[in-house]
Amino acid sequence: MRSSPLKTLLTTLLGWIVAFALFFPIFWMVLTSFKTELGAISTPPEVFFRPVITAYQEVQARSNYLHFALNSILISVGGTLVAMLLSIPAAYAMAFHPSHRTRSTLLWMLSTKMLPPVGVLVPIYLLFRTSHLLDSRIGLIGIYALMNLPIVVWMLFTFFREMPKDILEAGRMDGATTWNEVVHLLMPLTLPGMASTALLSLILCWNEAFWSLNLTSSSAAPLTTFIASFSSPEGLFFAKLSAASTLAVAPILVFGWISQRQLVRGLTFGAVK
């Protein structure tokens, strides 16, 4: 099928419009972060102005960005690692030794993602309080790992199932234990899939706000809490809020940009076949 030049032009145009609409808030946020507080709320909004970094200076003076950033990194990486370690055996079992209940188990796992998290907030809060996990990195790592577990298991399951069974059987004939099979054959051969699963989990952890706002206050607080602390009750300071937000999303944005090919390849792996 060959489309006419006009159709190509229209779809290209539509694509740009959608992309711009999606990108605009981020663009505006970055723009606002370089304004003065007064400039940030002026009407009509200023598009051309003299950029200043006062907002960034004030943000850094009021709170320690690096402290939050470090928490974000530790908790995202930790949560992803735990989720992967739990998911690899689970997905292996379901992909290579399926039973008649495998499908429904997977669906049931995914269905837990349909429950609003606030539904379990009170029990989880109480559990955390009694086990002294409130405002601790360990506690948040656990929550993030559990939160992403269904998606991670599901994705790994799809990638593992693409792997030719013969190769694992050849490994078994060669004397590979299950451990050998996973380490020497399965992991190297499904590396692209595993990498994109880990990337997605990392991004989801980084952006998570509900649990971090409710379960941390200062010592374990990640960047999402850092942003929230700038939407203060005594009035919004848009320039500072934008600066804080820009600081918070910048690392994951850069990270996502670098790994986008890997991410897209992994996520469309099963779909484009």
Partner: protein, 385 residues
């Protein structure tokens, strides 16, 4: 030394439905055994049960007299060559072949020596550093065999190893596998759906259909003395002709006459008495056993001539309506659409009862002498002057 025995082996993937319906089989040391049968008959399942990749639902599998039903695949002393080769795509040829030894904790120097030796046998020496992706189909196949060789297994298992190769390479690899069988002096079990592979390679053919063994025997035994219609039709190319006949007369010693649909009579010679006159039977005749004879009982008009160069196949419609294929010399000037007659010698006829079982033919010995196995001194034929 490696002998293998199957005792009442059964397999059900789902409860209530058997894929393998009770198989008894003995495989001798250094024997080349071929499992042959149509697609879906359970060949791979049986091989995978021997390998240990599938559970055995019932029955016993013995290797060297030891029951190994519950022994780990790698501990059975077997090596398998998969239809898809199943090479490890992320490893070099050398690493593919050395993987089993590495897992077994064999030292690097010893491993390299064994890999190099296998590569020499298979002419893979200049490819040791390549990945499977950078190899041709035939080379991949040899790597898969090399991976089996380095383990020095008691028994080699092959699951349709030639089916992904083109025709020329298939013939060449067939010869190479036989040479390997000689050189390694190992027991080999080979699965194929191709009866030509079975005929050319096997010491012993096991014909399977629908999860049961139809017949076990040497290639020539199956060719000359098929036990039933299925084996008769499966072994031999071009396929055996089957014609419905009725018994006209019999002398009780195996000599007799059967009548074709058009009434023409064919003299037959069996190794056992024919049933009573009037009994319907199936007459089986190999196309290569028919010859032109102006007084022959098979009268018909050709409708297709296939010239294969070395031989010619004429497809006839007999006056009684049956189809018959006659194989003659490549230079036979025979033309279609003319009436021709052909005949067959009485002792080249096969007869099958209504149950599909063959009547015994003359000269049938239950266990013909086996050909010498590799490594054994060949039996010297004594001249009978």
């Amino acid at each position: 030394m490696a002998t293998l025995s199957l005792r009442g082996v059964r397999k059900s993937y789902q409860a209530g439905f058997e894929t393998i319906k009770g198989i008894d089989l003995d495989i001798a040391d250094r024997e080349f055994v071929v499992f042959v049968g149509p697609s879906g008959c359970g060949k791979s399942t049986l091989l995978r049960m021997i390998a240990g990749l599938e559970d055995i639902t019932a029955g016993d599998l013995l290797i060297d007299g030891q029951r190994v039903n519950d022994v780990d695949p790698s501990k059975r002393g077997l090596a398998m060559v998969f239809q898809t080769y199943a090479l490890y795509p992320h490893m070099t040829v050398a690493d593919n072949m050395g993987f089993a030894l590495k897992l077994a904790g064999v030292s690097k120097t010893e491993r390299d020596a064994k890999v190099r030796e296998a590569a020499r046998i298979l002419q893979l020496e200049s490819y040791l550093d390549r990945r499977p992706k950078a190899l041709s189909g035939g080379q991949r196949q040899r790597v898969a065999i090399g991976r089996a060789i380095v383990r020095q297994p008691k028994v080699f298992l092959f699951d349709e190893p030639l089916s992904n190769l083109d025709a020329a390479l298939r013939g060449q690899t067939r010869v190479e596998l036989l040479r390997l069988h000689e050189e390694l002096a190992a027991t080999m079990i080979y699965v194929t759906h191709d009866q030509i592979e079975a005929m050319t390679m096997a010491d012993k053919i096991v014909v399977l259909q629908g999860g049961i063994v139809e017949q076990v025997g040497s290639p020539m035994e199956l060719y000359n003395h098929p036990a039933n219609l299925f084996v008769a039709g499966f072994i031999g190319s071009p396929r055996m002709n089957f014609l419905p006949v009725t018994v006209a007369s019999g002398d009780g010693a195996g000599n007799g006459v059967v009548a074709l649909a058009d009434g023409n009579q064919v003299a037959v010679q069996m190794g056992e008495a024919l049933p009573a006159p009037g009994t319907p039977l199936t007459l089986g005749i190999r196309p290569e056993r028919l010859y032109w004879d102006p007084n022959g009982p098979f009268a018909g008009e050709g409708h297709l001539v296939e010239r294969l160069g070395g031989l010619t196949l004429l497809h006839l419609t007999l006056t009684g309506g049956e189809e018959l294929v006659v194989q003659t010399d490549g230079n036979d000037p025979v033309q279609p659409h003319v009436l021709v007659r052909s005949a067959v010698s009485p002792d080249e006829c096969h007869l099958f009862g209504a149950d599909g079982q063959a009547l015994r033919r003359p000269g049938h010995i239950a266990q013909p002498p086996a050909r010498p196995l590799p490594g054994e001194a060949p039996v010297v034929a004594t001249a009978t002057a």
